[in-house]
Amino acid sequence: MTTELLLKLPYFTVVVLTLLGLAAMIFKRNLIKILMGLSLMESAVNLFLVATGYRTGGVAPIFTNAPSPHMTLPTVQALTLTSIVIGVATSAMMLSFAMVIYKKYGTVDADKVKKLKG
């Protein structure tokens, strides 16, 4: 089982990154550290998407001076582009939320920002 797992090393890295991001989101109380965990999980999903479309011995699907006509799958790479840009957009919004929360409460501890109104 371990040799089989070492042959599929990108998938194992995806599992480790996802669980590290999930542990950061559960066990930490600072809002910035929770956002770092979310960014780790997004990176793991992007790696999984790209690793799905790999062909052994293939080159990039670009015809300009291509070394060989044996290419990897191009559709998954297009999906990963969109996913990365959406990750940037959500990270920007959440970080500006964290800055405004600090201005109003004086702390970024997730256990202390509990007032619903006022």
Binding site: T64, N65, P69, V85, L95
Partner: protein, 156 residues
């Protein structure tokens, strides 16, 4: 809070090279790896270099937020109108009516591996340019807004 003189001078010398390289990645999007989003991020890195090296008052005097908002809106409008121009020429929305016809971006492409020609691929360079300008304006505006929320410490 500004950096030392060496850092400021290096940033002033280096940021045009970042902008030119980003524009190269955007324009050659249909020949080499790259395209609109990647080239726009490289161009925004050049602007981020300026923001990090200089003080906040100097940066807002040089890069105005209004100009960047207009730039971002022009980028998205260029994307939309290039897509709508397909309807004028009896194709679906965003249909590639310029490819392989021989006029503006329309040289035919040989089949298989070949050294690339810049004059190919129809509507794709215009769409790449629109998205690149929009990403440059958008990411720089995000950085400037976040910089304005930081409280300045009084220098001793």
């Amino acid at each position: 809070m500004k950096m030392t003189k060496i850092v400021r001078t290096t940033a002033d010398v280096f940021y045009p090279f970042c902008l030119v390289f980003g524009l190269y990645v955007v324009i050659h999007g249909h020949l080499t790896p790259g395209g609109g989003f990647q080239g726009g991020a490289v161009m925004a890195t050049g602007a981020a270099l300026l923001i990090v090296a200089h003080a906040y008052t100097d940066v807002t005097r040089r890069i105005r937020k209004t100009a960047l908002k207009i730039l971002e809106a022009i980028g998205l409008m260029m994307f939309l109108f290039a897509g709508l121009s397909g309807i004028l020429f009896e194709r679906p929305f965003m249909g590639n009516w310029m490819a392989l016809t021989g006029k503006l971006f329309g040289t035919p492409v040989a089949h298989g591996p070949n050294p690339g020609d810049l004059n190919t691929a129809g509507l794709l360079p215009l769409l790449n340019l629109g998205v690149g300008i929009e990403v440059l304006g958008g990411l720089t505006i995000i950085l400037l807004y976040m910089l304005s929320g930081i409280k300045e410490e009084k220098q001793p």
